[in-house]
Assembly symmetry: C3
Homo-oligomer: 127 residues x 3
């Protein structure tokens, strides 16, 4: 069974030796995405809502490069930095996550580097 | 390959657009469960041990609704809020996790909303 | 489909009822590994770089006991305790993670018990 790395210039370049996503068999795992602009590396969005929009853009770019989409997602892991961000995060999440059947999700509150407010990774099962 | 959302009134209703669990192929991912009473939304348990018992009830309700059980679990992700809770958590965990072969586990310490002391999600491979 | 626990004396003994790794079907999930010496239980390494080396040794021992290796990994979840550790962690990570196609990765900053500075778990898809 071959293992394939996904690489696209439409999502941020990984800062270490990991793949933006990797596929093996029918599993596709997307690495933790944040709100970096793929072209400049600058954070897009000055609040959790704005950063979440850019994070979803990056996730969708990686999924598209793999021939997949959020419709294949079974799990979304959300890392926020402040419990006060839960409501504004969910507002954007609910707008962007797509139709039912929606993936499962876990949300926890952690530290993230610099001004990052959200990190998200996604596990997909491909058809 | 069809993707199916699991939904049961015997576990807390998700506070955003995500599924309590989702199945695609032979993978079943249970969303992060906490100690909410499914009927009232109130936290059950006034310490980590008590909250862990309710969290397991919710996990088992979701698994049952999917026709699965902890016997299918390969990974349990545990989020606690205080390293001092590790011992009392483990005491309940070891009572409830079931017989060998037991799933793998990762435990880390994060922030959780309000008075929540534990969150757990589970990945299963179905037969 | 049988579920099999992986057990080796070459990696730390789990402190609760979970498996060092478990395989079901073609999925192999390695439990969160830290820098404990398998023989003594003492932390190996007095900084994040040193602890990361021991953590990788433990991961590789578990993978070897399962007949696998990092070449099968699709996801590496990294838990650090301080954003200042990102650079020295990556230096060791990039040395040890192996050739392309490399797994996806998520790195977040959490609390860990005692003097632990890093915890890592790995999801593999076996051939």
């Amino acid at each position: 069974m071959s293992k394939t790395a996904v690489s696209t210039e439409n999502a941020p370049k990984p800062p270490a030796k990991f793949s933006q996503a990797v596929r093996k068999g029918n599993l596709l795992q997307v690495a933790g995405q944040v709100a970096f602009d793929p072209a400049t590396g600058a954070i897009v969005g000055d609040d959790v809502a704005g950063q979440t929009r850019q994070t979803f853009k990056n996730i969708e770019a990686v999924l598209a490069a793999a021939g997949s989409s959020l419709a294949d997602a079974i799990m979304v892991r959300v890392y926020l930095t402040d419990t006060a961000h839960f409501a504004p995060f969910n507002e954007v999440y609910d707008e962007l996550i797509g139709d039912e059947p929606q993936p499962a999700r876990t949300t926890v509150y952690v530290g993230l580097p610099g001004e990052l407010l959200v990190e998200i990774d996604v596990l997909c099962v491909l058809d």
